[in-house]
């Protein structure tokens, strides 16, 4: 297993400018030899198709272990995020400056509710 996942070292991020800047300051930013970035800054002008495309691209890349995405952006592509069921890269929805963490949208807590609600 370790050999299969050995190349998965990067963290990718899809978020607003402040979230991406903060996480790049933490050192996760990487541009590879094909000039492919592991981040996408989403602003008001970014089309939805671009977010979907980037999310799918990140999920298919073999060098990404974690995809961080702002919770409010994940809401925009909710069917894609919910349908994604691979172990790696794993997806984590994070809060942004204008949209604090909402437990109602947390997939883990939703699953817990389902288990005890059955």
């Amino acid at each position: 297993m370790a050999i299969q996942q050995k190349d998965r070292n990067f963290l990718a991020v899809i978020g607003d400018e402040d979230s991406v800047t903060g996480l790049l300051l933490a050192g996760i930013g990487h541009v590879n030899s094909q000039q492919k970035k592991n981040f996408l800054v989403v602003d008001a002008k970014t089309p939805l198709s671009k977010i979907e495309e980037t999310f799918l691209e990140f999920t298919k890349r073999k060098d990404i272990a974690i995809i961080l995405i702002n919770q409010h952006l994940a809401d925009l592509i909710r069917p894609l995020v919910d349908d994604y069921d691979q172990a790696y890269p794993t997806v984590l929805e994070i809060p942004s400056k204008d949209h604090p963490y909402d437990p109602e949208k947390d997939s883990v807590l939703k699953r817990v509710q389902r288990i005890f609600g059955e």
């Binding site: 370790a2 996942q5 300051l25 933490a26 272990a65 974690i66 963490y101 699953r111 817990v112």
Partner: protein
């Protein structure tokens, strides 16, 4: 072990699993609070830095186009986790955990890290085992470790601190923001590992619940059969020739 003892055992296991599960959920929520706090601090410091530097100096246009990741993760197999049937049902990912690493690039270091050699080498290079080694070997070891350190140092130095994308003399609030985001990132890795544990525990709970229900249904069936058998035998005692009775007559 009779049926009631078996049932008690399953119920006790179920109780333990539920308590552990709820504990994990509680820690998960606490962890989210910590992440939110760290990110809030990071955003606040970033806003302060923007104010100090001017809004045009802290945008995506200042990012280095040739940036290399200094902070990465490795997916390591969790040796402590027991390989049970739940792991097989859910795939191998449940046996893994993520570890945040900093300052290590591609190449031999990463291979060594995966092979688990770094820990062993460090122990041998710096520990008590050197006492009985000959002087020449010691010198060799020292030279090798110096080379390795130099190699690491040059590699580390080649990664530019992202703070410098925005200028040489950056405000202290930008450094604070960087620290907050680094801390927040570590918390995020912790929460991902915790999420895996919650998932495994949830599956364990489901499995035990199914086991209990199956046991209870089989227990009831056995009891019902026993009651039916008792009722039949009682009927036979009261009406020994009931089958021979001519009801029409």
């Amino acid at each position: 072990m009779n049926s009631s003892e078996k049932l008690t055992e399953i119920c006790e296991q179920l109780d333990t699993v539920v308590l552990e599960y709820l504990d994990l959920i509680s820690s998960y929520k606490e962890q989210w609070k910590r992440i939110s706090k760290e990110l809030e601090n990071g955003f606040l410091s970033l806003a302060h830095a923007k104010y100090a530097m001017g809004p045009s100096l802290l945008t995506q246009h200042q990012y280095d186009g040739r940036m290399k990741a200094d902070t990465r993760v490795i997916i390591s197999e969790n040796q402590g986790a027991k390989a049970n049937s739940f792991d097989n049902e859910l795939g191998q990912s449940n046996n893994c955990q993520l570890i945040l690493i900093s300052g290590i690039l591609d190449g031999p270091e990463l291979d060594m890290l995966f092979a688990g050699d770094i820990a062993a080498d460090t122990l041998e290079a710096g520990g008590l085992r050197q006492r009985n080694i000959k002087v020449s070997e010691k010198e060799n070891n020292i030279n090798m470790s110096e080379n390795l350190e130099k190699h690491n140092y040059t590699k580390k130095r080649s990664i530019k601190n992202p703070l410098n994308w925005f200028g040489i003399l950056v405000p202290s609030s930008l450094r604070e923001s960087q620290n907050s985001f680094k801390q927040g990132l570590q918390e995020m890795i912790n929460i991902i590992n915790m999420r895996t544990k919650i998932h495994v525990k949830g599956q364990e709970y489901k499995k035990l619940k199914v086991e209990k229900e199956l046991f209870l249904s089989s227990y009831h069936n056995i009891n019902n059969d026993a009651i039916d058998a008792a009722a039949t035998s009682k009927q036979e005692q009261v009406y020994p020739d009931a089958s021979d009775l001519d009801l029409d007559g």
